[in-house]
């Protein structure tokens, strides 16, 4: 600004015009703030120079300006600042923008301007002379510059190298065209300034790059290089290689930094891609295997990486150079087939996978290892060795072991169930078949598995719909006490069908429990309850019944003797007094059936008395024990009694019935009340005989057996007839008090219930019956051999 103040406008203007005339160029001189103060085009005078934008606009391609002027005007100099000396003294600099400028037409201005300035500074000198010299000098310089610039431009375009110049004082940066191309920026829109450039490097680690560059250039005058990133207009990141060199003043002060920039995005990207791919591979490999190994053609390990030491407890250097055979020699049996196969594979140069080995580490810990490997060959097909991976599968092996253990445990649980457990899938195929099912059907698991339920377990054929319902509704289906025939006996079972809905596998489990014993026990308990209540009732009633009964029967007794006893003195006296005769009276009574009526009264009375007597026996509490008796003797005595039993009207002839005895040798004497047991036996023989008689069977037979039931420490008596048998409804009620199949008035319906009571309550034994219509009946009496503890 000093300069402009010192010079008269007209003089400056004159200079411009003169130079323009001589060079054929436009010439302008810029003042402070970038205002054009003199110009060969007078209309431009006074216009404020807008900076780099104007230069790039092409309106002014080059202008002379001192560093100071440039700093003040905000115009960036792109190019080199050549010191200009006069008489050994630096008086200014010449701006050269060789890569940028399209023309060197303004070269001279620089010197002119400087000269002008010079002139102003050294006002006593001859300005014109100086100017002339300057012009001569500038012409020389122009020629040199033009050649140099051309060369540089060619090189730059060829190598896609951009040139930049950074003026540290102003922060202005000048770019060659190539830099714009490299950074994909529009010269018309982007004004390169250190700050605008830095905004294109938003990465934190690049924040201080400009400062670093200054520092580096300050510390060393040697040129250097660096890599940088640049945010491109399309949002992608470009990578660049830059060189730099500082520009210093006489005192060595750093004035500017210049350099080149080269686009290396392509290389950088491929390098990054390579790095990524490598790291990916490393990650994949690491997650797939614990370590990698390589073998040479001699099958010795050449290279190991990864966690081998951690897993095997061996440092890789102890493995390298050895063969697998050498490493495992101490812990393995190489004769084992899997090792034989493995060695054969290796020697045949074949790939292998998942070769599993148990390894005992030097510290004694056991590990399971897994190897896979692939042979590799050179271009000529020569075997070079193996590459492969190794892994620690101890955890997996452990899990497998635990899984197996758990499975066995569950199978054991299922098998130890006393129930039949059958698993079926949705289509009725068997998926599970436990021990009880095998035992019950005789079909082994292997045979049942996968077969249709219908085929293997036909008696569940009717249950398929139930199974489907259980699966469909996801509710268990229960059916209790289902009767079924087996070996001529009725068995009962509870069936439960549980739907299986876990893990999306549809199916069901069928559970069958034999509850025959429970059902029988229940029946017995019901009987006992009934009898005890009958007994209680009878005990209360007996006295009240017996007295009037005695009045009736005893009176009938006396009545009979008074009417029919022809020798009784009282009778004779009375007849005589009345003028009757015993004979006539007897004939009359006979005629009118009176003796029969009296007999009927007697008979009915006796039956009534028996009923009361029988009912009363239910009131007796079990006393247990009794003296020891040989059951065979008791049976034989009872059979004799039955044969001579005429107390009832003869409905059967016991002598015609065949008795087949089958007595066990080892039967010990049994503690019991012999009279009561005989009563029971007699009752059974009578009932059986009557039943056989009524069915009119030709060959009537009793099979009488005794045997020992070892498991329950019971002596058993079986009395089996070949009579008509009975159906289930009768069988279930046969021990009930007052239940009878005989015509009204024939039986009391108490015989068997009394027998039942005697056996179960008094002797703590059991009495059961097995029968089917047309197949006879078999009564089984079981008596404890050891007397029960109950008093």
């Amino acid at each position: 600004m000093k300069h402009t103040e010192l010079l008269e406008f007209t003089k400056l203007q004159h200079i411009c015009i003169t130079i323009a005339d001589k060079t054929g160029c436009n010439v302008a001189i810029m003042g402070p703030g970038g205002r054009i103060i003199a110009s060969s085009k007078p209309e431009r005078i006074g216009v404020i120079h807008p900076g780099a934008a104007l230069i790039l606009d092409g309106q002014v391609d080059f202008f002379d300006v001192t560093e100071e002027m440039a700093r003040e005007s905000g115009v960036m100099l792109e190019g080199r600042s050549l010191p200009l000396e006069l008489e050994g003294k630096r008086i200014g600099s010449v701006g050269v923008a060789a890569p940028l400028a399209e023309s060197r037409r303004y070269s001279a201005i620089v010197q002119t301007c400087v000269t002008v300035m010079l002139e102003s500074e050294f006002a006593h000198r001859n300005a014109q002379a100086q100017l002339n010299r300057s012009i001569e000098s500038s012409k020389r310089t122009e020629t040199i510059l033009r050649k140099s610039e051309k060369r540089l431009r060619e090189m730059s375009e060829l190598g896609r190298i951009g040139y930049w110049y950074w003026d540290l004082a102003s922060g202005n940066v000048e770019w060659s065209d190539q830099v714009y191309k490299i950074f994909q920026l529009d010269p018309k829109q982007f004004i390169p300034h250190i700050e605008s450039i830095m905004t294109r490097s938003p990465w934190p680690e690049d924040r201080l790059r400009d400062q670093e560059l200054i520092q580096r250039a300050s510390q060393s005058r040697e040129p250097g290089s660096y890599e940088q990133r640049f945010l491109l207009p399309d949002g992608s990141t470009g990578y660049y290689f830059s060189t730099y060199q500082g520009i210093y003043d006489d005192q060595g002060k750093l004035l500017a930094i210049e350099g080149t920039v080269q686009d290396i995005t392509g290389q950088k990207r491929s390098r990054l891609a390579l790095e990524l791919s490598e790291s990916r591979f490393r990650d994949f490999a690491n997650s797939a295997a614990d370590w990698f190994w390589e073998m040479g053609p001699d099958l010795r390990f050449t290279r190991l990486t990864g966690r081998i030491e951690e897993v095997m407890g061996l440092p890789p250097e102890q493995v390298v150079g050895r063969t697998r055979r050498e490493i495992y020699r101490d812990t393995q049996d190489f004769d084992a087939p899997h090792w034989q196969r493995h060695f054969h594979t290796l020697e045949s140069h074949l790939p292998f996978s998942n070769f599993e080995v148990r390894w005992v580490r030097p510290d004694g810990e056991s590990r399971f290892l897994n190897f896979s490997g692939k042979p590799f060959f050179d271009a000529q097909g020569n075997f070079l060795g193996y590459r492969g991976v190794g892994g620690d599968i101890t955890a997996r092996k452990q899990q497998e072991k635990e899984l197996m253990h758990l499975r066995n445990y569950l199978v054991n649980i299922i098998d130890s169930m006393p129930s039949i457990l059958i698993g079926v899938d949705n289509s009725g195929m068997i998926t599970q078949w436990n021990k009880e099912a095998q035992y019950s059907t005789g079909i082994p698991f292997e045979e049942a598995l996968g077969k249709p339920l219908l085929k293997v377990f036909p008696r569940l054929a009717e249950e398929l719909s139930r199974i489907h319902r259980a699966i469909r509704t996801r509710r268990k289906q229960v059916d209790s006490k289902r009767p079924r025939q087996e070996d001529g006996e009725v068995h009962y079972e509870d069936m439960t069908i549980y739907p299986l809905i876990s893990n999306g596998v549809e199916g069901a489990v069928i559970r069958l429990d034999d509850v025959t014993e429970q059902v029988r026990m229940q029946e017995m308990m019901i009987q006992t309850e009934k009898m005890l209540s009958v007994g209680g009732l009878a005990a209360g009633m007996a006295h009240e019944i017996n007295n009037p009964l005695a009045g009736m029967m005893q009176t009938a007794n006396v009545l009979k003797s008074r009417l029919t006893d022809t020798r009784m003195p009282a009778n004779l006296r009375a007849v005589e007094a009345l003028g009757l005769s015993m004979e006539v009276l007897g004939a009359y009574l006979q005629e009118r059936g009176v003796p029969r009526m009296l007999d009927d009264i007697q008979t009915s009375g006796i039956r009534l008395a028996e009923i009361v007597e029988n009912m009363l026996s239910f009131a007796r509490k079990g006393e247990g024990g009794g003296s020891l008796h040989d059951l065979r003797e008791l049976i034989d005595k009872t059979l004799v009694l039955a044969t001579t039993d005429y107390s009832l009207k003869k409905k059967y002839d016991f002598k015609t019935i065949e008795i087949v005895r089958d007595y066990a040798e080892n039967l010990p004497p049994v503690p019991c009340e012999s009279a009561e047991i005989q009563q029971v036996l007699l009752n059974l023989f009578r009932n059986g005989a009557e039943a056989m008689q009524s069915s009119g069977g030709r060959h009537q037979r009793f099979n009488v057996r005794t045997r020992l039931s070892k498991n329950r420490a019971m002596a058993c008596i079986e009395i089996e007839d070949n009579g008509p048998g009975m159906d289930e409804s009768v069988r279930r009620r046969i021990f009930e008090p007052f239940f009878t199949t005989k015509p009204v008035g024939v039986g009391t319906g108490l015989g068997l219930s009394v027998s039942y009571f005697i056996i179960t309550e008094i002797h703590k034994g059991e009495i059961t019956v097995v029968s089917k219509p047309g197949k006879g009946a078999r009564f089984v009496i079981s008596l404890p051999i050891v007397p029960s503890g109950r008093g």
Partner: protein, 130 residues
């Protein structure tokens, strides 16, 4: 005539016994209660007594106890309608009490009579004991 005390509160039973023994040439003396029977014993001297147990007032056991003191020669035979009846221990020691208990209804009255005669015929030895 052999006098026989019939002690039973049931009139039909009592009368059937009286009728039967009358026919068999006994002299039955009926009594409805123990108290009445004890009073009767002051005027009559029966050889034996058929005794019911459940009675209004004193029961058969008590009657036997008192009557055996009043009349040491009197024989007793229990005939009861209670099936659970057992001779009490203190009475069991009495030599004039028939150990066999008859239960009502007595289907065979002749058997009862025979038992009575057996007891009466054994009087000599038994009274010495008593």
């Amino acid at each position: 005539m052999r006098t026989l005390l019939i002690l039973d509160d049931d009139s039909a039973v009592r009368r059937s016994f009286c009728d039967f023994f009358e026919d068999h040439l006994w002299d039955p003396v009926p009594a409805e209660s123990g108290e009445e029977a004890l009073t009767l014993l002051q005027s009559v001297r029966p050889l034996a007594a058929i005794v019911d147990v459940r009675l209004p007032g004193i029961d058969g056991n008590e009657f036997i106890c008192q009557a055996s003191r009043l009349m040491t020669s009197l024989k007793f035979l229990v005939c009861t309608g209670s099936p659970e009846y057992r001779i009490p221990d203190d009475l069991r020691r009495l030599p004039n009490l028939c150990p066999r208990v008859f239960h009502k209804p007595v289907i065979d009255l002749q058997e009862l009579e025979r038992e009575l005669i057996r007891m009466i015929d054994a009087q000599g030895t038994c009274s010495e004991c008593g």
